[in-house]
Point group: C2
Chain length 242, copies 2
DNA sequence: CCAAAAGTGTTTGTGGTACACCCATGT
DNA sequence: ACATGGGTGTACCACAAACACTTTTGG
């Protein structure tokens, strides 16, 4: 890495470094994403991903977790899944100045209504399917985030991050079906999950009535393992996302 | 995304935005990585990943490809595989100032000896196994890049990026074996590759003598497909990299 | 009794692994 | 003749898909 002559910090046009968050949750059987309505130009009145500046003493990860806590209003954000997606740095992506944005994806199990941010904009959970079009290049970021989450479900235990601490296998299956948009065979799904050691562990003796109807389901907790062997591949796809 | 009051570009301590490159190649059956020797403090005399500043009119991808051309001395760098890895933004990672670095991985088939950079440092291909320790947090970046390349081989046609335009299946297999560090069964490898439509396509009538010894091998070109179905999983692993 | 959801069992087919074997070339 | 590397065939085994069936609850 080479440095400009004399390490003059102001030798170059300054870059602003921000984080953008694609925060997903499941509501009423549909994938939702946290969005904020912009109160200022550019894109005033448009929806955008939440985000903000990286402060001088913060890493991007720290900034992302701080923004996640601020925007969701959740008190304890420490255990939530937060993952760096990629960095967007096209010169024209913000018309005001040069902004390099590190994008993150986050998964939230059962969120409260979000706070409005420090500015006048409102924040809200909106269904993923109806989110577009967003401000800036956030359509692209959101699509990339969705691809990433879908792929992560295949070979990590990420799906449990959408679930409350104790959940049924039916709920876990619905996570996969909702994110992937495909139906899965229940007996086979059950076998695959239980055959992977450390994916889920049973809660002894516990059961939950599922909406009154049907047989009560056994409860499980997320296991210790984070990567799945073998992976839980989604069915019938030609061509995987890179 | 919120902006500081009045859009004052200098309201914050400026961030420098750089790119770092982990450029891999295969030489003499071993994985090599392109490194530069630092001529200045800090870490003078240490090896480091090549990289440099993102210019005001560039995206990170553009800057990475420019640096790749400069450091390798290759005239046509357009077709080479270049992929964003992740962004490293820990506050203390460069003692001089706040540097946010977007890391990339690149794969080069058969490279010439590299140029020395604009500063006095020399550049050289070094075996991956002997690369550490590197300057700054480049050990971490290099390890992440190696993980990423290994994982990409499983479900993309990335291995062909290590090969010349026409290659034998034996050469392709050696790419996998070198990067993964495992031996593969030749008949099964052959079947898997040929069974994946679009992975490779035969060059009609062409054959290459493989070092004089043995039967001449048929030549293949990289196919049109970029993602593999089914994936070519590496054998006998407990736990996949995230 | 019926509907709904959980859970079990069984059959069938595909694909991966391991290994034996043949082919073509240089020394 | 033999060593070396390319290429083919095959038997076995594991696992996954598909689907029938049983169990337990509420109405």
């Amino acid at each position: 890495m080479t440095m400009p002559t004399g390490y003059d910090k102001y030798a170059f046009e300054p870059f602003a470094v921000t984080v953008d968050l694609a925060v997903f949750t499941l509501r009423a059987g549909a994938l939702h994403v946290l969005l904020v309505e912009r109160g200022q130009e550019p894109y005033a009145g448009h929806w955008a991903l939440p985000g903000g500046f990286v402060l001088p003493t913060e890493s991007a990860e720290t900034a992302a977790r701080r923004e996640l806590a601020e925007e969701t209003g959740l008190s304890d954000v420490g255990g939530l899944h937060l993952e760096q997606l990629r960095t967007y740095s096209e010169p024209g992506r913000d018309p005001r100045m040069r902004v390099v944005s590190v994008a993150f994806t986050a998964l939230v199990p059962d969120p409260p209504e979000p706070h409005a941010g420090s500015d006048a904009a409102q924040a809200r959970w909106l269904p993923y399917d109806t989110a577009k079009p967003l401000a800036f290049d956030h359509d692209r970021i959101l699509a990339d985030a969705h691809d990433r989450v879908g792929a992560r479900l295949e070979y990590t235990c990420l799906a449990t991050a959408f679930c409350p601490p104790e959940f049924t296998l039916g709920e876990l299956q619905r996570v996969y079906e909702t994110v992937w948009g495909t139906a899965l065979d229940r007996p086979n799904f059950r076998r695959k999950v239980l055959a992977t050691p450390g994916f889920v562990e049973p809660v002894p003796g516990a059961a939950r009535l599922t909406g009154g109807r049907g047989k009560p389901a056994a409860l499980y907790r997320a296991g210790a393992v984070t990567t799945l062997h073998p992976p839980l591949l989604r069915p019938s796809r030609e061509g995987r996302p890179a």
